[in-house]
């Protein structure tokens, strides 16, 4: 039986090497997948306006607003952020602006 990991599994994998029942023998392998390229609008934070109230963090569907060990939010994780804009709309201080994503 094969227990290959996502980083080694691609369209060349043979039937002998594929994991049994396509079980995924690891956690969180989707972190290899960029979903940031879905974005048309991009959230940008104005740190001068941010009061670290953290109301933006729980509303993110894509775990793209990290809260660091010091209890303060960091910059967006643009690798995952799909640009839905819930955070910007939730911020009571207007500290997050949605801008056209130039890529």
């Amino acid at each position: 039986m094969s227990f290959m990991k996502a980083k080694d599994i691609n369209e060349h994998i043979t039937w002998k090497d594929i994991t049994p029942g396509c079980a995924i023998f690891e956690g969180a392998s989707s972190e290899l997948v960029e979903t940031g390229d879905w974005r048309t609008l991009k959230p940008v934070i104005n740190w001068d306006k941010c009061k670290q109230c953290l109301l933006c963090a729980p509303v993110c569907p894509d775990m793209s607003i990290p809260v660091n060990a010091d209890g303060k939010r960091g910059d967006f994780n643009y690798f995952f952020c799909k640009g839905c804009g819930i955070c910007a709309n939730t911020c009571p201080f207007g500290a997050i602006e949605m801008v056209k994503d130039e890529k």
């Binding site: 995924i24 979903t35 775990m63 809260v67 804009g85 819930i86 709309n89």
Partner: protein, 310 residues
């Protein structure tokens, strides 16, 4: 311990990025919030009914679940997780396991109110020590917005299109939360995303740590199916609560407790007007539809107030 958003956000995140849910989807917000309430050191086994959440978080070989996860089919998350929880008891009894595991099922309203209803009812009746979380987005979204028994009255879906003769869904939304209460399980709650997430976080923690079967019904809006701009999610849930369309309450050992009573209960239009699925109700001549929904909401609210002794 009183709720603190910062403390809560510092807890372990058990859902990973890179999932393929639509931008602005409510269900991953529900999932990550519920899973954050699992205490550090405890393991959470998640069982998923087939649906948007399941397909989008498990596209082989990419899983968005940090801990172990099992998907079986559309209609049997309740039974499948019953089996897992029973296995846990069997292994514990035989001294093969030491750690503490928590068992959490996530199903959409289709997999919960409809096709998975029997399996859910069985799991609740048997009293397995698990939590079933319904992320209720009020239609079969994964197959393209077909009506479910959770779809609200008059909503425009692809199988209840607002037509010239039939104006959307003709039936009211099924009250599943009350049906779950009727199973005499120790904990049932209805919640959604509000403010600093205190309501949903506390209810999820209680549901997970109350011994026995628990049911959590989370309104999890679908911007695609409800037809509102993705960024408005928190405005939609707030309006649902302020109009009493989706009241927040919990039932502990059969006792109803109201979680929130709006100071000024807003008219249902405030909720309906935000969403394209209700747009036809605002056309001239269709005022009766809004009036009817208002009557239904008022009746349900009054009944709930009575049950809660308010």
């Amino acid at each position: 311990m009183s709720y603190n958003l910062k403390e809560n956000l510092l807890r372990e995140e058990r859902l990973a990025g890179g999932h393929r849910m639509c931008a602005g989807c409510g269900s991953p917000i529900a999932v990550r919030t519920v899973l954050r309430q699992v205490e550090p050191g405890d393991h959470a086994i998640v069982c998923n009914a087939t649906g948007c959440l399941e397909v989008s978080t498990s596209v082989y070989p990419y899983t968005s679940w940090k801990g172990s996860w099992i998907h079986n089919a559309f209609e049997n998350a309740g039974a499948t997780l019953s089996g897992v929880e029973t296995a846990y008891r069997a292994l514990k009894k035989r001294g093969k396991l030491d750690d503490t595991y928590k068992f959490i099922a996530f199903g959409g309203d289709g997999g919960t109110y409809d096709i998975g209803f029997q399996s859910l009812s069985g799991a609740m009746e048997r009293g397995h020590d698990l939590v079933y979380v319904c992320y209720d987005n009020e239609a079969y979204m994964n197959t393209g917005i077909q009506r479910s028994s959770s779809t609200p009255h008059f909503a425009d879906t692809t199988t209840t299109p607002a037509g010239k003769v039939i104006p959307g869904k003709l039936q009211q939304k099924k009250n599943l939360t009350k049906i779950m209460v009727a199973h005499n399980v120790p904990y049932v709650a209805q919640t959604t995303f509000i403010g600093n997430f205190k309501d949903i976080s506390e209810k999820a923690h209680k549901a997970i740590y109350t011994p026995g079967a628990a049911f959590l019904n989370v309104m999890a809006p679908c911007p695609r199916g409800w037809r509102y701009p993705t960024e408005k999610l928190m405005e939609v849930t707030k309006a649902a609560v302020e109009t009493c369309v989706w009241p927040l309450y919990e039932v502990i050992d059969g006792k109803y407790i109201l979680s929130y009573k709006p100071k000024n209960k807003l008219p249902v239009e405030e909720y309906l007007k935000m969403q394209g699925r209700f747009a036809h109700m605002f056309k001239p001549g269709n005022e009766w539809m809004i009036e009817e929904v208002q009557k239904e909401v008022d009746r349900n609210w009054e009944e709930l107030l009575q049950l809660c002794g308010e």
